[in-house]
Amino acid sequence: MGESVTLNLKVRKHALHRKRLRASQITHSLCAVTRRSRLSAVSGGIGDLGGDLLLTSVFIAAVSLALFWMAAFTLWWQMHAWRTPEVLASTRFSRPDGAEQVSFSLLLPARHEQAVLDHTIQRLLESTHTDFEIIVIVGHDDPETTAVAERAAARDPRVRVVVDTHEKKNKPKAMNTALPHCRGAVVGVFDAEDQVHPELLAHVDHAFRTTGADVVQGGVQLINFHSSWYSLRNCLEYFFWFRSRLHLHAQKGFIPLGGNTVFVRTDVLREADGWDPNCLAEDCDLGVRLSSVGKKVVVAYDSDMVTREETPGSLMSLLKQRTRWNQGFLQVYRKQDWRQLPGLGQRLLARYTLMTPFLQAFSGVIIPLNAAIALFLDVPVGIAFLTFLPLVTAAVTFVFEVVGLHDFGKQYGLRVRLTHYVKLVVGGPFYQVLLAGAAVRAVWREQRGRNDWELTTHVGAHLAAAETIREDVPA
């Protein structure tokens, strides 16, 4: 976006020089008049503009303003937690009082994860909370993982194993299999590679009791920002999402939940028939369904208490992961559960949030188009001004991201170097390309139709499911 606009600028400048020369040749009267502000041509002399140019100008103005408002709203929401010190304080867990009343069933779906599973179970067992069970869900075709799980169950009575016998496996199906076996009052979900803080359950217990919540969503944070340029941006995305934006969603009463560190009252979950086994973003879907029927969702983020994860190992797997989420969002959008939301504002927020992949694809296509039109056609200065508006919001976003990275480093005691800031800024446009690519890919896959949907489930289900669980860190 930035480059095209600067380029655009140079060309326009040349055009202006040409124009001025022409003008000075023709002019008979005041040169003041010929050199008058071209702003006035917009306000005073729209009639002077050719019909086509007028149409183009209106088009460019409309697109620029639309992009501007989209970016402005996104920015506004992204910065939600830092609005006031009070809001920031309210995003944290409140300190537990020592009492424990809630019992937990912690679901741990694991697939070909024998390497990390045992460590995760051990760490979960170190929780300070006294009343919980761990249900490890393994596939009937995955003996290695099953063996690890069985050994853990033999060592500690709090660990149980549930075997999922579905032909085509995915995460929602696995969790639905385990749901009837849950004895706790609250079901919690973790991934097999998660590092969970020992005091998390006590905090969640306290949150359930003091707020009367039906759902508590804890923070999830990618930590390995130094691994690559895209992991830096990926980490920061998580930071802004869990640290800030998700709280806004909770406050507004419409929330796409995260894939783990999420806790739901068991009766509420059963009432909702568990997870949607056909949705690619079952976590988001659950959140939308629950908040649409008025269930109370509470979000809390504490840098000590977050579940730490790692970014996808390669750019390609990041792209695939993002494509899946986007497609999942679109599916949730088309399921239309969000239409039950009582408030117009809530429905608009739902529409906008779930459409974000569409809008990203749209802006991915429209920004170059807009720039190209402004580049090749000489538009008035006032309109040219408008084409800079999306750039302005982009600049503000960049600045806040830099500050966010600084804050991220402070919160997690990580050393953020100058090169990281540079990577953050320079990588920005490329990451945008990646996001736009994933969005276009998702839209394309979704548009290829429902018939195709059946086909994909039939063909690559096993592989897709395995991949799904490996890279599953949904927001």
Binding site: R35, R36, R38, S40, G44, R83, T84, G253, D407
Partner: protein, 550 residues
């Protein structure tokens, strides 16, 4: 229904401003969370506003004397309204155009209803709105900086009723509009809710101020200090970078505008932002302000002629506050305004800087605030300091007596002087000669559409309304020498003109303008209004051979 977790406990969000209520004495009423819902504040502010509006509004078009600059800005606002661009002559980046764009907006409806009303005298009424907003903002800022109610009221009164303020705020100066934006920025920076977007808005308002009058740039550090003090440790980095970014990005729109027009850098055949800035930065100095006989000294004296209390008292107050920074709660709360005054004073004391008469305008609200804060500090010292629980009633009575004596003494010094100054402002008629000249030119000249007149900017719009051609018929006098677009139409110099309206400004500047000087020399007065150095002569060019390039 969903919601976020309730706030932890208020104790984890410590009030950032260190002076917590306990530190302050009982008479420092902490400002209410919403000033709007405090009846007493509304009453006090409303009453003061009414008084200010009466004093500033009454007789506004007749006093003070119309200034050339007022005419310039209003004429450019008129040009904007007429769709003639940013000015009816070539816009040459003398100032950023936002100021008269706002003027154009403000006067849009009245001038649409009655085009003839677009003259300097009448449109001074628009400035009344600016003054009103600024005065209210001074009150709000005072309260947000933890001044007690009476002191905030005092600041508002000082700001709105000082004869110096009355004279300067009545005039259509860009500085007045810029000051309003700066005050808004300070108010937002000191927002009690410490909201991120309030700070962002403060940055935007500051940019609007700078784009209205570029001299506001120097006040920005003080604004930043205010913001720093009023933001919370946990959100400060977002708030401050947000504000700076907003200000910078909005400010860049001006060079961007020049760039889009191809006028950023100098080149042959066109004006440029670079040239405009260079001109402003290299204006010849007017001498050291304390050297008797220099231009700057004269400007200072002209301020002190109207009022000594606000400029000198405010200056002393600011120095006092800065000196007592370590001990005084009030001094820390008022750091922003005090720093503003200090910066402006330091700039005015440059050995050979250029000091325009309106320079003091940007200092007025801050002088008023620090003077009021100094008064509040003094009152506190007299009434509360070293006061033990069981202080003897006699001593307490003595404190109040002393306070009363001081208040009466201050009143006795200030009130008569201000009464005289403000009475002049609401009764004197300094502009009768201008009005008479405008009437004469509108009725006695037979064919205004074919007549070329050199006139100063203040009268220019009157002539345009009377039917003279804007630009080449009614000519800003100095354009006859300085604007190639105008001189080109005067191949025979003064012979191509019909009249020159020799107002004090024209006579003063003619010394350096050969064409104007020649026109005055080759003309004779046909009508004279007023007497002495303030008189306005309408002089007809004596050469009969009129023709030239009409």
């Amino acid at each position: 229904m969903t919601s976020t977790l309730p706030a932890v406990t208020t104790s984890t969000v410590p009030a950032q401003r260190r002076p917590a209520p306990e530190v302050r004495s009982a008479d420092r009423t902490p400002p209410p969370a919403r000033l709007r819902s405090s009846r007493l504040d509304l009453l006090l502010c409303g009453a003061l506003l009414a008084a200010i509006l009466v004093v500033q509004g009454w007789n506004i078009s007749a006093y003070p004397t119309l200034s050339d600059d007022e005419g310039t800005y209003l004429a450019q606002a008129w040009a904007v309204q007429q769709g003639k661009g940013l000015a009816h002559y070539t816009y040459w980046y003398d100032h950023p155009p936002l100021g008269w764009l706002q003027l154009a907006l403000l006067t849009w409806i009245p001038s649409a209803l009655d085009p003839g009303a677009m003259t300097v005298g009448t449109m001074r009424l628009a400035m009344l709105l600016i003054s009103a907003v600024s005065a209210v903002l001074v009150y709000v800022l005072g309260r947000r900086l933890s001044l007690p109610r009476w002191a905030a009221g005092l600041a508002m009164a000082l700001f709105g009723l000082s004869p110096l303020s009355v004279v300067l705020q009545r005039e259509i100066f860009l500085d007045n509009i810029a000051v309003m934006w700066l005050l808004l920025a300070f108010c937002l920076a000191a927002s009690p809710s410490r909201h991120l977007w309030h700070h962002f808005g403060a940055g935007l308002a500051a940019a609007a101020g700078v784009l209205t009058k570029e001299t506001m740039l120097v006040v920005l550090p003080a604004l930043l200090v205010t913001m720093w003090r009023h933001s919370h440790r946990d959100t400060r980095k977002f708030a401050l970078t947000g504000a700076v970014t907003a200000c910078a990005l909005a400010g860049f729109s001006y060079p961007l505008f020049a760039l889009l027009k191809g006028e950023l850098l100098p080149g042959s055949g066109h004006v440029s932002l670079w040239d405009g800035v260079t001109y402003q930065m290299t204006r010849p100095g007017s001498g050291f302000i304390l050297d008797r006989g220099t231009g700057s000294y004269g400007v200072l004296q002209s301020w002190l002629y109207y009022d000594r209390v606000l400029p000198l008292g405010g200056l002393v107050g600011a120095l006092l506050l800065l000196a007592t920074w370590r001990w005084s709660v009030t001094a820390r709360a008022l750091a922003g305004p005090a720093l503003t005054v200090a910066i402006l004073a330091a700039l005015a004391l440059r050995p050979n800087g250029y000091l325009p008469a309106m320079y003091v305008i940007q200092a007025l609200p801050f002088l008023a605030l620090v003077l009021a804060a100094g008064t509040a500090s003094a009152a506190h010292a007299v009434l509360r300091r070293w006061r033990a629980e069981g202080e003897r009633r006699l001593v307490t009575g003595g404190r109040y007596a002393l306070a009363a004596v001081l208040a009466v003494a201050a009143g006795a010094y200030v009130v008569p002087r201000w009464y005289d100054g403000d009475r002049t402002a609401v009764t004197a008629d300094a502009n009768a000669p201008y009005r008479a000249a405008a009437t004469w030119l509108g009725s006695e000249v037979e064919n205004p559409g074919d007549t070329r007149v050199l006139v100063d900017d203040a009268l220019w719009l009157d002539l345009v309304h009377a039917g003279y051609r804007p630009g080449l018929g009614a000519i800003w006098f100095y354009k006859a020498d300085l604007d190639p677009a105008v001189t080109k139409t005067m191949p025979h110099g003064w012979r191509d003109l019909d009249y020159v309206v020799a107002s004090p400004t024209v006579r003063r500047d003619a010394v350096d303008l050969p064409n104007v000087k020649a026109a005055i020399e080759h003309s004779a007065p046909v009508a004279t209004f007023g007497t002495g150095p303030d008189r306005i002569e309408i002089r007809r060019i004596q050469q009969a051979a009129v023709g030239g390039a009409r």
